[in-house]
């Protein structure tokens, strides 16, 4: 019997199995941010164990509330900053160089095929786009990761999606993952890895693959995974060119992190997604999904384009292509938050920032703030937001507020109309 990619990664990283179905794995990366890490740090200090297993494998960023909005968030940043300095963690991204964790860490080339990655953040599943096993964990798992470089997991049962056909213009990875979550429901993939495969995924950029893997957790999945291919190698090339003579050599090496044809799956879903329409959520669960056309005319108060799901350059390009020479509705306010400083710079050079500003958008610094109602775009009671983020939980972006999840294209079109709108009306 063959193995899935996740099984191969487990085999290559297993330290031991102290109990049945308990696989303790060696970690290649431990990512940290200022919300879930400070309590791990203070607990390690209180235990007299203020150590790190390997400062080169730990990467840290201040991203959730940045710049600090009050004394408490300033204190969280300070704890992380002092700790990074104390332990010689060189890859620490402070204000001015910081971005949304699941955008900046891949951008810096920190994730490679076959890696094990944890972070105290549920959207860590994003990094599976590189053919890695990447899982969100709580603060205690993070604490042990920091201290010992290990984490315990159950056997990675896997669901496979074979996605055939071609996405129509105006339909993106976000629409596809919303459709998949609707099919799986919010706990359909609990304790499982989700493999995204097929011609649709092969044709996707790394940015789109990250959007796909990012929301695996919304179906309960431990990790989303795409197979590494030449697109992965091209994305990573600047970081790996010292290791390989040619891109083909890199591809050959990385190709060991692909599931065997006779691997065993919990379930295999095959879809032809050629006729997929733009999708949007309603209600308070990410599996409550309808087509944009079914939801059109739903009034909105705010539009938000950003986050670890859809704040990358490709997302900004798509949104700007719709907003060019347009104005947002007088009835909405709109915010765009490029996910990293590099994305911001690129957007500036390409004239995208100007397009957003001319349309009436507020452009913020890179931060997670609005997505979880912490800063930079919190909703008032009774308001609705057209958002490119990942969770529509009750009150997620502000108490009493509603969130409609959608693609950057749909969000841009909705900003112009002041209501949920199909971007296919705007795209040439």
């Amino acid at each position: 019997m063959g193995k899935t990619i996740a099984e191969k990664i487990f085999d290559a990283h297993r330290v031991n199995m102290p109990f049945p179905d308990t696989h303790v794995l060696k970690l290649d990366r431990v990512f940290c941010h200022e919300i879930t890490t400070p309590i791990a740090i203070t607990d390690l200090m209180a235990r007299g164990m203020d150590r790190v297993f390997d400062p080169t494998k730990i990467k840290a960023v201040i991203d959730h509330v940045t710049p600090a909005k009050d004394s408490k968030t300033a204190e969280q940043g300070k704890i992380l900053r002092d700790w990074a300095k104390r332990h010689g963690i060189k890859d620490f991204f402070d204000i001015g160089r910081n971005g949304v964790c699941h955008a900046i860490f891949p951008e810096k080339g920190f994730v490679r095929p076959g890696y094990t990655v944890i972070m105290g953040d549920s959207h860590t599943c994003t990094h599976g786009a590189f053919g890695a096993f990447a899982a969100g964990v709580g603060t205690t798992d993070l604490e042990v990761g920091i201290l010992k470089g290990v984490c315990a997991f159950h056997f990675p049962k896997t669901i496979k999606f074979e996605l055939n056909g071609t996405l129509k213009p105006g339909v993106y990875a976000k629409d596809l993952i919303l459709f998949i979550i609707k099919e799986l429901t919010v706990n359909g993939a609990t304790n499982m890895v989700i493999e995204f495969t097929g011609p649709v995924v092969d044709a996707m950029s790394m940015e789109s693959r990250m959007t796909l893997c990012n929301m695996a957790i919304e179906a309960g999945g431990t990790c989303g995974i795409c197979y590494p291919d030449m697109t992965t190698v091209e994305y990573l090339w600047d970081f790996i060119k010292e290791e390989f003579d040619t891109k083909e050599d890199a591809l050959k090496e990385y190709s060991k992190w692909i599931s065997d044809a006779d691997a065993s799956y919990e379930k295999v879903y095959e879809y032809d997604v050629t006729n997929l329409e733009p999708m949007v959520t309603f209600g308070y669960k990410p599996d409550q999904v309808k087509t944009v056309n079914e939801m059109s005319d739903t009034k909105i108060d705010q539009v938000y384009i950003g986050s670890c799901t859809n704040g990358r350059i490709e997302d900004l390009r798509i949104a700007a292509s719709i907003l060019k020479d347009q104005k947002i509705s007088d009835d909405v306010r709109a915010i765009v938050s490029p996910a990293t400083p590099d994305i911001y710079s690129m957007a500036l050079k390409e004239g995208l920032i100007e397009i957003f500003q001319n349309a009436g958008f507020c452009v913020t610094n890179p931060t997670c703030g609005a997505c979880l109602g912490m800063s930079n775009g919190v909703l008032a009671n009774g308001e609705a937001c057209a958002s490119t983020t990942n969770r529509n939980f009750n009150g997620r972006m502000g108490k009493g507020g509603t969130v409609h999840l959608m693609s950057p294209a749909t969000a841009a079109a909705s900003a112009i109309e002041g209501k949920i709108t199909n971007s296919q009306l705007y795209k040439a």
């Binding site: 205690t140 042990v144 010992k148 309960g220």
Partner: protein
Amino acid sequence: MKEFSGKVLFLDRSDINTDEIIPAKYLTEITKEALKPYLLEDLTLTGFNNEDIKNKAVLVTRANFGCGSSREHAPWALEVNGINVVIAESFARIFRQNMYNCGMFAIELPKEKIEFLFENYAGKDSSIIIDIEKDKIIVTSADQSIEIDFKVGEFDKTLVKEGGWVGYADKNY
């Protein structure tokens, strides 16, 4: 080891997420105790009153409890309110692991057993005792009592007995 017995809080809904258990705006706290007043502040559940949390030690609920964010603030908010056990039809993976990592119990029971508990023990000032040696849950109200078998993995049980994952990992890795 923590205390695993006492009065029961019944929450009759599936998919209660960690944003409902502890809203993100309180994640700026850097002590667990500071979370105490905010447990379940944003819970959407008809008939639920935050006063219901008082003096409870065990939470019984439906499917997929603790979905969403990885925030361990969710188990901590329960813990500082004296709730060290959640019994549900199923849990989100990260929440479940966080509970055991803190030396707390997340116990899964079949759907019909959960249904039975809601039908016969909800709204009756019921108590639950977890017998960790015999793997039994003893449920009691004024007029009735029942024992239900439960099963958790060896790893989970070890973490409960050792008081969590940090201590265990420090000794073994």
